[in-house]
Each structure stands twice: as structure tokens, then as C-alpha cells.
Symmetry: C2
Subunit: 652 residues, 2 copies
Amino acid sequence: MIQKYLYGVPFDTESVVAPIPASQGEPPVGTVKTSESGFCFACPLAEGDRVYGLGEATRGINKRGFVYVSDNVDDGLHTENKQRMYAAHNFIVISGQQNLGLFFDYPARIRFDIGFTRRDWLEVTCERADLALYVITGDSACDVVKQFRAIIGRSYIPPKFAFGFGQSRYGYKTQADFEEVVAKHRQAHIPLDMVYMDIDYMDHYKDFTVNPENFPDFSGFVSKMKEQGVRLVPIVDAGVKEEAGYSVCDEGKEKGYFCKRADGTDFEGTVWPGWSHFPDVLNPEARAWFGSQYKALTDCGIEGFWNDMNEPAIFYSREGLAERLDHPPVPHEDGTIDQFGQAIGWLNLSNAPEDYARFYHKVDGKMVRHDQVHNLYGYNMTRAASEGLASIAPGKRFLLFSRSSCIGMHRYGGVWTGDNHSWWSHLLLNLKMLPSLNMCGFLYVGADLGGFNADTSRDLLLRWLALGVFTPLMRNHSGCDTRRQEFYQFEGPEDFRSVIETRYRLIPYLYSEYMKAALNGDMLFKPLAFVYPEDEIALQTEDQLMLGNEVMIAPVYTQNATGRMVYLPEEMLFVKFGPEGRITQEVLPAGTHFVKVALNEVPLFIRKGACIPVADPAQTVADIDPATIRMIGWPGASYDRYDDDGVTIPAE
Amino acid sequence: MIQKYLYGVPFDTESVVAPIPASQGEPPVGTVKTSESGFCFACPLAEGDRVYGLGEATRGINKRGFVYVSDNVDDGLHTENKQRMYAAHNFIVISGQQNLGLFFDYPARIRFDIGFTRRDWLEVTCERADLALYVITGDSACDVVKQFRAIIGRSYIPPKFAFGFGQSRYGYKTQADFEEVVAKHRQAHIPLDMVYMDIDYMDHYKDFTVNPENFPDFSGFVSKMKEQGVRLVPIVDAGVKEEAGYSVCDEGKEKGYFCKRADGTDFEGTVWPGWSHFPDVLNPEARAWFGSQYKALTDCGIEGFWNDMNEPAIFYSREGLAERLDHPPVPHEDGTIDQFGQAIGWLNLSNAPEDYARFYHKVDGKMVRHDQVHNLYGYNMTRAASEGLASIAPGKRFLLFSRSSCIGMHRYGGVWTGDNHSWWSHLLLNLKMLPSLNMCGFLYVGADLGGFNADTSRDLLLRWLALGVFTPLMRNHSGCDTRRQEFYQFEGPEDFRSVIETRYRLIPYLYSEYMKAALNGDMLFKPLAFVYPEDEIALQTEDQLMLGNEVMIAPVYTQNATGRMVYLPEEMLFVKFGPEGRITQEVLPAGTHFVKVALNEVPLFIRKGACIPVADPAQTVADIDPATIRMIGWPGASYDRYDDDGVTIPAE
């Protein structure tokens, strides 16, 4: 059952699409306090309660014991103490004696103290008491999630090629750079469907432009790549460069489609292109206009995009810089630390709350200050793209994902989890975020495999790819100042071939399970706790996941390991995909096992009585031969495979 | 067997104390290249080789797969990608088909590429080919370590009270602050032996002074605390404040005991006190002088110290600041990122290599540029303290540990592992460093329990304390801008009592094993791989340790867990110490088990046929009643307990 409680005058986020009548009175659980100074929902947590959700967030699958803040930020250092990331996914499920879902439909900063200050107490607070609270009760955590998913609308469905492997790096600049990537994959017979284009493909970082020197015939280049089975996927940033004569800038200014200061002038902040404007994607007219700009690239044959810097990231504003430059730091003669601290503070300008309070959106004829709707920006930039693309090519499925997001955006695109690090702990964090993201509607998700920041190692990359085999978005991406991490930078390409081929072998299953999850409002990845709620060990297993209805995954996530401990809540079939098509199968009883997994192997576990479809490897998704599909699993099992042409969006 | 190879003209680090004649020719393993451009030792690594050692370092117990750099640095963000920390512990053991020890006796920056660039290749490089290389072959990893320990001299032995629990926080300022800490522990009947004094106890951060307003009668206060069974343990920083009339500064300048610029003037850098001088602790005269300054505090009854900021940390030098201030950043009108990058770079002054090349030590009448002996500074500052204290109170055991260190310093004091974070991953990192530190001679070691930086949580602190129960240095320490983390800031003091009382119950065993390790040159903590080298699972178990000869530890290190998986290489007795003296015992067969461990319990495992001495709890180490000691363990087992009065240093 879903109950909706309204407080104050909520901004219409459009996160929820189902019409739910507002309930009167107090919610069935917890206490709500509203006042001039804000909103507070509080309820006790019982000793054994787990708390799930919050989508893209640090720490465990069970979020209990920490404080999380939804206040989208461009922060590429995802250490355990970080309370906020790029996204605002305000849905939690308290699971224990009862199963209770809570969705806080609020567009700005909101804080979840989940048993941190006191272990037995949940407190959710925000600055303004203008929001909708949805309270969902259900028979199980899965049931609560399914009810929630039903009211927020169907998750984004990408084209089929988007289930292939993509190679990326911040630093590819020229046509030759991209051709090299494709050629080296093809030469080594390593499957590849996409190469991502980071900001350097643009002309001076101007959205919807292409560097004319490096890509003299971009359309021709796009089709040449497509002939080789590879889609180029360019990035689009939120900030539009201020430059006279640049049509997107000129038009946006002329039509008043950029965010404005209180005095009505266009707000300017610095991002990669230098001084930039921020399209007012909360204004439907401006959103339609920005979305229509994608045509410049679709006209060249582009079929996929990733939207970035859309928290929006702002390095500094004209105002912010001016305020600091008026007071440059003057270290005292005695050199005491206080002055040095001030000097450091002088530069602490990026993504400043002050800046988010300097500009406005135009919504329903009213000016809305950005900081009051901050978490909706990336959501609506991606909605702009999705709506634009739908009008450019009706019915066509585009690849589309975003860095910043909010619940609601799951209908328009996927997410990647931003600038992670080449850390083993981030491989595990990648795994832990998957079910949380699914709960919040985000199914097409993935992390930068191998790690974006810092230097990766061959074994970290291979192990991470062996998790990425299962994530809908499978992309190797790295930062420009890090060790090169294309597979061909390392010895032994055959090991990479083995792992990435396994992805392609599993696509008949992965695609089918993705579509079922999207069409039925289910999770693709579930915590073991959701499937085995009576099993105390399963309840706290946070380094394994259930995938679809048939599979459990348990990737190796430590260095120098020849295998790992795995907990089986029930008897399962342990399957390893190895090099040259080798598949080993072994029935393992319920309990804990140390399983050996080599660097070139991908392990999975098939639940008792189930089977999964597996194809022969192919160099692209399109090349997978359905005639090679066979079932692997338990004797007598059958599997109902979903398949389509991957082009037309299924009817809702 | 130990062989020593000399290259160039090595600086005498005094890391090794045993006279080893130099061998001629090439080392028995690997290849050495020396040239104008430096030194390189390289050798292949076989597939199954593990590489142990490097003491204080990030990542795993098996160091293979990463690059480590010995180049001591004050960096409080210990993420997985950090290659260097506060210490230089250049000893590694390659263990596999053979067991081979390598010690690179070199006082400056040296880099260990341990199968990172290529998995099958070890490469150790440094800038100058002036060093001694020790190659040790042995029957086992333990044997190699024991041989190494024998040549570097006996490890520091602290007084017995140092095995108690200590409370600390950066931010305690006044006598009342310290009294509150002691009173609240005593009121709650939580054992306490030490309270640490961070920099605020000093008068304007001047070494060997005490703020006269906050401590009008410091000696009286020290003895008052001691009457309550508590030692105050003040911090001493490396930098000596520049201030006319401050005797330590005046005397150091007058006698030429501070590090000097090339032109002979005293070098100045900024640290907490503002402009400061750095005692030339590599000059024996200056070292003796600096060591003698500790008398100002021992005269007040102080019996323990922690030496800090002795990498040495330098926020900026006069020269460094002047160079930058001559070129202040002028952001361009177009605000492009390059200029912003420069602006950030402008402040990147701390711990700058340029500064370490600006000052000199006086050694044997010669001027030695600091950067060429950088890693010896913390070592010799602590040696100064140790030698000073030995001359102030001959034969007396003082508590002494340091942040920065180098092999050699293990004879003079212990280490704490610096400014960690309140991260669950740092609990595990704490565990992983223990055997590595032991290999390098450091036995009196510990981490800031609960985490120094960032906000802790009650469960993180309790779980971390349950590891800290076993570390010789057991201290709860936190940064000044973090959540308060004394036990009494949280609900349920009885849980903290239970865990800390367990420490005191185990001191008869812990002290005995510490003394055996110190007196016999053994490790107190060993990786499971050292004890069960034929067991493939034990070889890669990095979240459990062997403690002494009788015990295996396996702390819980994840949030919201009611227990953990434990691997038993052999049948063991599973013992849990719970509240109110409850001890449970259960024989577990070899294999993997999920063991339940509550937040107020401390688990350990007793090896088959062994037993350990356990006492009744006490409020201080001195109050432990030997009459209450009884054996816990396997029937018929006996334990040979080492005990002494804890005051006089045992004969070497």
C-alpha cells in the first residue's frame, strides 16, 4: 500500500508519475515535524532492521550506520566518509520485522541520518517543509520496491548494442586515436561495440560541435566506424561556452534559455570551456530547445550520448571569484597557520553553495532559485536529451546516460557512477551500488571499470571487468593523467579476450533479464537479503549479488587472490567461463566455499533448478548468432528468454 | 645466510648494527645496475611468489601488484593509491619457491615496483647508487625475518603501563579537559592508563613548554593524574618555534644545532608554531642537545612522549612562499581552466621536494643536503629522545613512539601509523600493517583507533577497539574537527567497558608475547602465510593474523555485521570475551566458519594444544592482580609466561 503525505507547497519534481491521492493525518510510522526551520521525519530502528536504498551512495548495501546527503556534487574522491555523490535518490526501505518504503520527493539538499548519531534512530531532515512523503508498506523488501517502481514509471531501455563492451579514456583527441582503439580490439579479436568520446572531441569544449581539424569529415568517420561495428558515443556537458558567434550560445541568450541572475542577466560560471552558461532545463521551452541541439550529432550518425558535469559542476562564478580577488590572502610576516589556512580557503570556490544561490530557473512563469531545486538539474538535462532525441527520431532507442541524476531521470537514461578510483575497494563499491540503484529505477548502470582516477593494474582491471561482465553498462574508462588502461597496454591480451568474450556469451541472458526487469518493474540486481530474508548470513553478505532470477554473482575483489570465499544460501551450480570457450560446472552444497577463480575466468552461480542461455562469443552484439544459444544449468530446467530487435521501444 | 653488497659511498644510516663484511661480485639473485643516473635492482617474480614487508605502507600484507615509495611524507589521506606514507621501511621478503630477504639500506627516496608494471617483475630504484644491499636467504619467511631482525638490533621495549589503554584527542586544551577524560573513565569503570596531550598543551606550540595559563602547576597536575593511575603523554614536534627569548630556539641558534641553508644561515619553515627551525638530529652533538630538552618535561614527572611532524613536515619555507608570492595567480578574463589550475598550484607548497633541498645537516664535519638523507629525520629525532631520556634516567623505560620512522628507529621507539580516517577500510589496513611493521623491527605499534580524520560511529569504534585490544599501542585518537569519540560520547558505556576490560584481561599474555618477540627477535603478529605456508587459502588470507605462538585473531571489520567468515587452517578453540567477565569457548574444526561476534565481544582463536594466561580486569596495568591469572585453552596445555617489573630494561 502506498500513502502520500503532502507538506507545504511541494515543487513538482515529476519523479512520481502515478497519480496518488494525498492522505490526511499522520503517516502510519514515525513522526513528522514541520516548521519554519524545516522538515524532520524520525522513526526508531529495531535492532535487526536493515535500511536499503539511496541509489548512488558510498558504503554498504545496508545503509545503516552512516549519514547520507542528497545534494548533487561533482566530487571525484569517493572515500567512505563522503556523504554525497552526484545523485539524489531519496528512496529507502527499512526491512526487518516489517518492510517499509519511504520516498522523500524533494528537489534540494536532504539529509538521512540512518542510525549514525544513534544506532536505533532514523532522522531525515531538509531545510524547507515543502515536500511529498510516500510511505509504502509491503510483504517483503522486493514487494515494497516493486510498488515504488510502479509509481515512478518504467526504467529507461537502451538499444541492444549498448549491452556490448565500450572502451573510453579522457584524452582520445583525434580520429587516429579512435581508429587505433578500434583497430587494436579488432586485431586482438576482443569484442567491442562502442568507443566513447570524452570532452576533447569538441571544438574548444563547445557542446554539439566537433573539432574540425581532428575530424574533418565527422559523419564519414562515424559511418566508417559503424561499418566496423562500433558506435562512437560523444559526451555532452551541461555548460554552454560563452562565445559570440557560437550558435548554441547566441540562441540560448537571445531566447532567454539560460539560467539567470536575480537581476535577469545571464549567470556565468567557469567549467571546461571557460565562462559558460547553464541551460534552464527546468523550463520546458528551454529544455525542448536544448534537447533539439543533439540533432547536430545525430545528423552525423551518432546513436548514443553521455551527459556530464550536470550537477551542474561550476569551478567558480564571476561573483565568487570577484569576492575572493577583492581579498587576496596576505600571509603574515610570522607565517602562522591561520593565514595559510585562509589562503587555502581563498581557492575553495568550486561547486560552492553560494553560487547555486546566485541563479534562477523559470518554472511556470516563476523564478525558482537554483539551490531550491538543485538536485533536478542533471535529471532534466538528460530528460532534455531524451525528449529531444524522441522528437528527432521517434521510436528509436538511443544510448543515453548521465553523471548526475535524481529519481525520475531513470525513465530517460542510465547513469554511470562518476569519477571513481583504481582502487580494489571501488570494485566492491561498484557491486554494492548496483541493487541500490535498481531500487531507485536505475537499471542501465555501470562504473568506470578499472577505475577513472589513479593508476590501475592489470589484475585490478581484469577482476573489475569480471564484475563489469554483469553490469548493463560495461565500460573501461580512465582519466587523462593516469596509466593507460586499454587492454592492449598490458601483457596477455588473451586474458582480456576471455573475460570480455564472456560478456558477449552472456548477453542473451543479460539482455533478457534487463528487459524483464524494465518491463515488470523488477530489480536486475538484488541483495542476497532480498531473496533469502530468513538466512542470517545472507542478510549481511555484501560482496555477492543475485542477478536476475537465476544467477548469483561473487566477483573476486582483492589483489593477489587465486579465488575467494563465497556463501551459498542454497545448493547451486558453480559455473566458470574460461578462455577459448571453456566452461566448467560444479554442484556446490549450501554453505561457505573457497572457490578458485583465475584472472581470465568469470564465475557465476546458477540457482537450483534454473538455467541460463549462453551464446558463442561475437565481436559485436549484432554479430551474436542466436543459433549458437544453448542452455547451461540444472537438468530439466527451462528459461523463458525475452528478445526483440533492440531498435523499437516496447509498448508501455 | 646474509650477504652485504656495497655500491658507491653509502651514507651510514646505522639501520644495521651487526658488522657484516661486504661480499664481492654480484648478488646471488637479480641484477644490479648502477650508473650516474642511479641504482636499479631487478629480479623476476615467479607466479606464486608473495612479497612481504615494507612496514608502514598501504594495501595488502602481500605487497605484490603495486608501487611503493619510501620518501617520508606528512599525508593524512591513506587511500589505496598512495605510494608513500610517513615511514621508510625498505625490507622485503620474497616468499614462494624460495624465501629471500632484501634490505636496501639507503636514506632517501627509493621506489619499489613490485609486479605493478609487469606482474612477473620486481624493480627497486633510487636516484644515487650509494647504498648497501643486504640479501638474506633462509628456510622460511620467518627464518629470513629473524635473520634480518638479528642484524638491526633489538626492538624498543616500552614500560609496562604502555600496554594499557590510552585516550587521546587533538583538541584537549586545559587541565579540566584532561581531568574530565580521566574522571569519566573512572566513573564508568573503564580501564585507562594514559591520556595523550596533543599540541594544544604547549605554550604557542613551543616544544618542551606547557601553556602556563591552562596548567599553572604542571608537575602537580602530572602527579595528581598519576595518583589516579594515569600517565599524561605529551606530544613533541620536530619544528622549534623561532622566537627570541625562547630558550630552545636561542640555544639552538647560538650553538648551530639547527639545519642550515647552503649559505650557513638557519633554514626556516612554517609548521604549527609558525616560522620554525629544524634540529639537526643527524649531528650527534645537536642530537644530544635536543634529547636533553626532554628533561623539561621528565622533571615534571612525564614518563612518555610521542614525537610528531618529524618527516619533517613543512607547510612552506620562506623561499618557497617568496617564489610563489612573486608570481601571484592572475586569472585570465576568459577564466579558462588552465589559469585556475595554476592558481591551485600556487598553494601546493607543503612538504615540497624543493624545500627538502634547501637545507643541510652537519655529519662528520660535512654538510649533507637534507633530501639525500630525508628518511632518517624522524628516526634520529626519536633517537635523540631515547638517548636523551637514557641519560636523564639511566635504565628507566619510557613510553616513546613516533610518526615518522626508518628501520633503525625500531631500537629507540615505536610508531603509530599516523592520521588515518574513520573508515572501516582503515580498520583492516591497521591489521594488515601489523606483521609488516613487525618484520621491520617495529613491535610497539598501533593505529588511531576509531580513526583520526572524519567522523567515527559507535560500531566502527567498538569494532576497531576490538582489534586494538591486541595491538601493543592501544589508543583512541581523533582530530579536532571530527565527531567526539571518547566512549562516553556514545550510548551504552558498558559495551566499551567490556571491550577495554578484555584488553586488560589479556595483558599477561600480550605483554609476555611482546617481550618474547622483542628479546628473541621474533614477530608478534604474523601473516597466516608465515605459519601455514602449504595452505593455499591461508596464503591469501589477509584479514586474520597469527598473534604470538598461540593465538589467531580475526576481527569484524564491516558495518552492520553480526559476525564474520573466518578461515581456520587447523582445528582451533574459538574464544569470545564478553561483558561481565563472560568467556565462551568452542572447538571449531579446520575450514571456514561464520562466527557470531556482538559489538561488545572480542573474539580470538587458540591454536590446537595451546593455552593463554588471562587475568581479571583492572582499572590500570599496575592494578592487574597476578593471583587472578588463569589459563584458557586446550586441556593439558601449558604456557611459559614472561613477566618482569616493567621498569628496568632487560639486558640485551
